[in-house]
């Protein structure tokens, strides 16, 4: 009997609905047949639409490269073992290392593609081991989430995705069609429904989203903070007279000391354009401010978030953050409620491993080497005494792991997730994991049970301090930071270019999965950089050596209208490209500021 089952796509934080007509009676490895994937035409989020990678999800099920069972690293290489043996082995290693170095030498890192239930289990695991170090690892979402949680400004959440259809002005920061293509359905409906509706896009390259903009603020890479500040200065001049904004007095003296001419010079956006953007935001409501997360796209994504919220606050618009990690929002909240002040963030764990104070890393689904910028993470994980990785496919990080456990992708999971609107959605397993493969939740229960048997008990870990309400002074301080940023930005030297990461959507989402989908490979098979026509005499294609302060690589380059002069765009899901970006820790927050890098480019 075939029973249609509904689930949601878990490749990004939108959560598009889909239906699978595949019954349990089907032989697992039979390829997908006609009619097994059904589009939910009445789903209010996506009205049936799915992007390419989701259409290809069935490829995962019988993918020949999937890790079939647990593996342990022995002196002779990896050996396949049974679950019972591997569990004993893991527990003994953890127990011995906790005994020797203390529970605080253990870190737990989670991929943002786990369910809320799995996250709670992982928190249990942390409590049983007695470590405060647990974090999700979504470097592009983290600075945005940290700022949203602090609630520095009044935040207007969108009641439903369909609401976008009626927006008079959509102000979009970043490549929204690149991260969640299905959102184009709603933004374009708004744009074309009424002649006067407008789409304003703040983005440095000519991406697909910029393409559709009525007003494209093509800022120099990494100068989004300045453009937003400029718009805010003009807005405050206009609004200030009519209504009182609580934080306005606090920031006004900072904003007053910024010259809008400086902003125009540094960002490459004209005063005219900044004025038009401010004007459009002041028009008839409703309007929306959308901030799209992207790896290495913004300089200080946290401040960009702050300003986007200020913009939505000042103009009484909705605010919609678009995350790359499917459950970043849910996991962020769950972990923030638990994590004591002493707990490290994912990036701090890597630094601690580098210094040698973190000895054990239990890694649930993160390809650490592929995720972090530069080459520091690779060196750091080599120093660990014990690295456990769960993964669906072999990846760079599993290659350095002492134990590899086979995990299940979302189509094989049941659980809850929180999407970008803050709504909770249900995942329903449309298949059970084959053979020896378990869901992350299943793996976590095995580990927790075994630790209990070994005599480990849940320990009380200091709860987090309640976040202090931000005072006007705190807010003013952020604006001083913004002011410094505007002063600090020195122009690119003549032989340099800005490396702008391209967050290609065919690979975005759970990168550990998408790199194995044939559709993603077809869309972007190799790292090819893009430059503007005629740059350095290149007219069609060639090879290029790119060197940054971190690394030096040689890749092909082609001419593309996506790039502007002085810019080199490269797909950031490839580790080579990430290795060029800089590791820049913001100590007060514990997360990385990954920004467009200044690189020197040599055409071969």
């Amino acid at each position: 009997m075939k029973e249609p089952r509904n689930t949601i796509c878990f490749f990004c934080s939108l959560g598009c609905g889909l239906t699978v007509n595949r019954g349990e009676d089907r032989v697992y490895y039979q390829p997908i047949a006609t009619n097994e994937l059904e589009y939910q035409l009445d789903n209010p989020i996506n009205r049936g639409s799915l992007c390419g990678k989701c259409n290809y999800l069935f490829e995962l099920l019988h993918h020949p490269k999937r890790i079939p069972g647990p593996r342990i690293l022995k002196s002779s290489g990896y050996r396949d073992v049974h679950w019972e043996n591997v569990t004993t082995d893991i527990i003994e290693q953890i127990a011995a290392l906790v005994e020797k170095n203390g529970a605080e030498s253990v870190g737990i890192m989670l991929s943002p593609y786990l369910t809320i239930e799995e996250t709670e289990q992982a928190i249990d695991l942390a409590q049983i081991i007695g470590t405060p170090h647990i974090d999700y690892c979504a470097l592009e979402d983290e600075p945005i989430l940290a700022k949203i949680r602090q609630g520095a400004f009044f935040q207007k959440r969108l009641p439903s995705i369909e609401e976008i259809d009626g927006m008079h002005t959509s102000f979009i920061v970043g490549d929204v069609f690149g991260v969640s293509p299905v959102l184009s359905r709603h933004f374009l409906k708004a744009k074309y429904d009424q002649r006067a509706n407008k789409m304003v896009v703040l983005e440095s390259s000519n991406s697909n989203t910029g393409w559709f903009a009525d007003l494209h603020l093509r800022a120099n890479p990494g100068t989004e903070v300045m453009v937003l500040t400029g718009i805010l200065i003009l807005l405050l001049e206009q609004i200030g007279k009519q209504q009182a904004i609580p934080w306005k007095a606090a920031v006004k003296h900072v904003l007053d000391s910024i010259e809008i001419e400086d902003i125009c010079k540094l960002t490459g956006v004209s005063l005219d354009q900044i004025q038009s953007a401010a004007g459009l935001m002041m028009r008839e409501k409703p309007s929306i401010v959308t901030l799209v997360s992207g790896f290495g796209v913004y300089d200080r994504a946290d401040l960009v978030t702050e300003l986007c919220q200020a913009l939505s606050d000042a103009t009484d618009s909705y605010f919609l953050p678009v995350f790359t990690g499917a459950n970043s929002l849910g996991m962020h909240e769950a972990i923030a409620n638990f994590k004591p002040a002493a707990g490290m963030t994912a990036s701090q764990m890597i630094e601690a491993a580098e210094k040698g104070s973190l000895k054990v890393l239990l890694n649930f689904g993160v390809d650490i080497i592929r995720t972090f910028p530069g080459t520091r993470a690779t060196n750091a994980i080599k120093k660990l005494d014990f690295l456990l990785s769960t993964s669906i496919f072999p990846n760079d990080t599993t290659g350095f792991s002492h134990v590899i456990l086979p995990a299940a992708p979302w189509v094989e999971k049941t659980g809850t997730t929180i999407n970008m609107l803050g709504n909770s959605l249900k995942l329903d397993a449309v298949l059970s994991p084959p053979g020896h493969i378990k869901t992350t939740g299943g793996i976590l229960s095995i580990l927790i049970d075994a630790l209990h048997q070994k005599g480990f008990d849940k320990k009380q870990i200091e709860p987090p301090e309640a976040a202090a309400q931000e005072t006007e002074e705190d807010i003013a301080n952020h604006f001083i930071e913004i002011k410094d940023l505007i002063k600090d930005n020195s122009a690119v030297e003549s032989n340099q270019k800005m490396l702008v990461p391209n967050n290609d959507f065919s690979h975005s989402g759970d990168g550990a999965i998408t790199q194995y989908l044939s559709w993603s490979q077809r869309m972007c098979p190799e790292p090819i950089a893009m430059i503007a026509e005629g740059e350095n005499g290149v007219h069609i294609s060639g090879m290029v050596r790119i060197s940054s302060s971190e690394n030096k690589i040689t890749i092909p380059v082609k001419v593309s209208r996506r790039a502007e002069k002085g810019m080199i765009i490269a797909p950031v899901h490839f580790p080579q490209i990430r290795s060029l970006l800089q590791w820049e820790m913001l100590p007060q927050w514990g997360y990385l500021n990954i920004k467009p890098a200044k690189v020197s480019v040599e055409f071969l």
Binding site: S49, C51, V182, F505
Partner: protein
């Protein structure tokens, strides 16, 4: 069952297409294991899917030496795999260039409007999955026929606006 001529066609609204290729993915994996939607590229300026229009007087049917291509009772242009000898005549005959050469199978690929779904009152896969709503499956009325058959409305409010 009486076979009723189905007068619906896939219409592309160029204003909306974001070039995400989900339509290609749905066609390729969902049914045919090879994509029947092709993406036309106008330089790098625009990228848009090209569909079979299931013409009133199909040139491909006339060009086919083996009757592999036929216009069926529903009004769809259909290809029988087993009759196709892979001569590529249809590829050259099609004025819209939507039949692609599929070397692996030695026969040509051809959109059948997802007839398995359409007969069950569902819309074609590429239309259902389209992320931006650019593709629609519409009844061709007398008023719209001329536009659609000559290709005007496969298009949009403004033809090729991406410049």
């Amino acid at each position: 069952m009486e076979k009723k001529k189905i007068n619906k066609r896939i219409i592309l609204d160029l204003d909306l297409c974001i070039g995400c290729q989900s339509c290609v993915a749905a066609c390729a994996l969902g049914y045919h294991e090879q994509a029947n939607v092709m993406l036309g590229r106008i330089g790098e300026i625009a990228i848009l899917p090209l569909h079979c229009r299931h013409c009133e007087k199909p040139a491909c049917v006339e060009a086919c030496p083996t009757e592999a291509l036929q216009k069926d009772e529903y009004g769809f242009v259909h290809r029988s795999n087993l009759l196709c000898i892979g001569c590529h005549s249809c590829v050259f005959a099609c004025p819209f260039g939507v039949i692609s050469i599929d070397l692996m199978k030695h026969v040509t690929a051809k959109c059948d409007l997802c007839i398995d779904r359409v007969l069950n009152e569902k819309i074609p896969r590429c239309v259902a999955t389209c992320t931006s709503g650019a593709l629609s499956f519409e009844e061709i009325t007398e008023a719209s026929a001329e536009e659609v058959w000559i290709g005007g409305r496969i298009s949009s409010r403004a033809i090729i606006r991406r410049m």
